[in-house]
Symmetry: D2
Subunit: 292 residues, 4 copies
């Protein structure tokens, strides 16, 4: 006989509602299927999942085990009907949370996972690179769900300012691509939209990679290594340039998305000449960008 | 002859302003002096500092080295006139940023540092515990600066639900404090206010520590260890209870602060019975709490 | 035409050999197939891979891109002939490194990956838990390869000392299981052996889980939560007890392994009553354990 | 009346001794005084401390609270008689552990702390940079204590191979310093010696900084930024070169240290053209280096 423990359902004595109650850091393997260029792509994502609902003032505790049930049911369903993206996985869990927590008016889900994608080097050799995906969903009862797709991409930036300084100090002949400091840069794009719109993660990753001084690669033989270095120095970029370049491409690539899509573009360079990082960010709506 | 490199001042071709441009992860030792109960308390903080200003659409780059100059000047000044708190250090840097970046309309500063404070065990032995301080400042040109003090405190929670379940399963005699699962809990309070108000970090830490099932201590001899365990089980708390308890105490302790003070209270339990964490948060204004 | 760059092959002027030269943090998805109880189990591991070879004094640089080629070839081969364990993946890469770096006399490989395994709660409900696997291989040219399997498991410990102290302070009736502090414990077992021996990761994980005060679970309904708490308190363990309990089980379970198998057993408790951790470790050979 | 709880002293039933039992992650502020060039230098270190003793087979548990007492007493003593270095702090704690744990035959201490040091840029501007110090001590009862000083320094490396490749691809005129990829490099030196020898941390840090393609700095105005970039490219280094360069300097700088001093030199480059790192290490004795 299972003891009936309902401490959670007892009336809270504090009088305060809570914005977010839930669990963080739940680890789950999930099968994802995306249709890309007419081809089905199956992939495994090892997800770290946070889920929350709000809690009315009159209720002492949230039923935390229901969060795990919600996650598990959605992941189990995905075996028969694969999820089409990390942000849609978040939406499915979000809907389930609002059903299971009948006292909640709002649910929030955040999922992070590593992602591998095939790409090719400047001289056309195949390679597979690692990225981070972020999926979120925020649901208010009886309203449309708002979902978020984020991708975090590592690339390379070469500094335009040091390049000009060196040119002047060394009096380089005109036209020679000149040395500068260069380093790892992490560029993150986060797009927030109604659940019925869709942004393809692979396309977003490629868009970002084209915004660095150069993308980076796991395996580079000599000629490819040379090409990456030369390309980066012919294409020097501040963190500001990376963000602005990505913003232009976003406006161009996502003409079908509505004005109210939220956009965050962030670029952080792990400066080779400093122990600290350089950082730039723009946070706005797609509509604001279109009118700037 | 220093080459005049002004790539940053050249007109940007993107047409987009940027919300935040700056540096992250700058490490600095700073001397802090607080007056507590009429006594001056000197302390060293090893700070991790992030600073940002916005960047108009017409300008290609932000002058990142000015950020380091601003930080250094404020830290150097602090030798003659010690800073009175991590959040006031943030305010001073914020003001300096707006002077140095004449093109910026907004500046943001975030500082984090470890902090040590004397306290005593249940049976009165002296001990020194470690905490995290967070200071922020946000300045809009020609407006008052908004500052933030945050403290992160580690304590202990014992679960009220498992305690009741165990009581029922084992049919404990009434009145006995009963076993439960218990674990490390991290409780964070973040208070956002006009620069002319002040909240004392030490008081805020003590307020939070009284909100756990029990505070935790570096050195516990047997009798103190027993007292901590018994206290925690006589005072079982969900993460929800920790947050609500702290909210009540905040309303009570800061009667002099205005309604527009922003409040975030967050409690995260590193559950001993799960591999994931339990989490609760309230985010609102002090005014909203007063009226609930 | 690929430029012939052979800076690496030029003679070093330092006169010093180097113990380990290579790459760290290479991310790779790998397909693993283990035969367990007669059933094939396929699984995906997202690996973080470090590889090194030594470098003779006469050679300026190691050919780092060959490391990536070695990793890639082994991973590609695994599609046709699945690897049977993370430590065997390390062995395969290790052998390939010695072929590709003809100047090296030694190769070292370390691989870490998250791993999910089905298990069940005290009351028999199915659950899936997350673990960490560690695979290593060390190869000296013309000798047998030595390989290492490590598993890191999260469980729960309840303190026997606090339990006795509380019993005495509260004068509990004899026979009642009494409260104590309890917390997350991370137990790691690392076994080092000749490449022709095999230890099954799943079996090792189960052995470790039986060494905690209780294993921990993702989803616990009330009765299971009560059972976990009661079991843990009926089975209180210091970190020392966890290590010694696992050592006894290892001696018992791996009778077929030779005396020269290296063993490290480590238990770290994230103490609920302190901000620091408690730690115990034994490092020795299986032979030493058998004779103690 | 304090309850007499001596669960730890009861006889263990496992028959196994344990190599290391103790606590990890104890946070402590410590005042350090070093005499450098005839001047006393006072500094605060915020230490993370791990301490361990072995445990005989016949004893159930180690007295963990004695570890905290040992740490506290040494730190308290340091107010009257300042400690002269992080490795000597480790020695003092190590000795105290052997007194307090009368059953132990061996004690181990590890301390890590951030450290700030004044330095100057290529063009002579003053700056303060951040480093990591590591102190260790290992004491076997009735023997001399062995202590370890480690320093971790961040600098910059520019790749010699990519530089040659680019020179060939672009057919640069002879004598021009040519672009390459460059990045943050973390170089660590760990020196292990009898307790009566001494190595000055500041000198070791400067030795390491001279081994990079260039040191890195918090604040660089244009001319200094140009100088750092040009210096780095005139001084390109593989991770192998960094390690070998430091080895040569160590042999030269520490002629007074005995042959049995243990040396680890490690260099890890956070490659700008890859998402993974390049790594080199030499581990040996000073005597071995002298004879190579």
């Amino acid at each position: 006989m299972i003891p009936v423990c309902d401490v959670q359902n007892s009336k809270g004595d504090s009088g305060f509602m809570l914005s977010k109650v839930g669990v963080t850091g739940v680890r789950k393997p999930v099968c994802i299927k995306r249709a890309i260029d007419g081809n089905d792509l199956n992939g495994m994502l090892f997800c770290s999942i946070d889920v929350f609902v709000d809690l009315p003032a009159v209720q002492k505790g949230s039923h935390l085990s229901r969060n795990l049930e919600a996650i598990r049911e959605v992941v189990d369903d995905s075996i028969a009907t694969p999820v089409t993206g990390i942000e849609n996985l978040a939406v499915d869990i979000c809907k389930k949370l609002l059903v299971k927590h009948e006292y909640a008016s709002e649910a929030n889900v955040k999922i992070e996972a590593e992602y591998f994608k095939d790409t090719s080097t400047p001289n056309g050799r195949k390679t597979m690179e690692s990225y981070k995906l972020i999926g979120k969903a925020k649901g208010i009862r009886d309203c449309k769900i708002r979902k978020t797709l984020g991708v975090e991409v590592i690339g390379m930036t070469a500094c335009p300012c040091a390049q000009q300084t060196v040119t002047e100090i060394l009096e380089y002949p005109a036209g020679w691509p000149v040395m500068s400091h260069n380093q790892r840069n992490v560029c993150t794009v986060i797009m927030d939209m109604d659940e019925n719109y869709d942004v393809e993660a692979n396309g977003l990753i490629e868009l970002i990679e084209s915004g660095f001084s150069s993308p980076t690669f796991e395996l580079l033989k000599r000629d490819d290594e040379g090409a990456v270095v030369i390309n980066a120095h012919r294409n020097p970029k501040f963190v500001e340039d990376v963000v602005r370049g990505v913003l232009i491409k976003l406006v161009d690539a996502y003409k079908d998305l509505p004005d109210d899509v939220g956009i965050i573009v962030r670029s952080e360079s792990e400066e080779s000449i400093h122990k600290h990082n350089a950082f730039a960010e723009r946070s706005c709506t797609l509509g604001a960008l279109r009118n700037e």
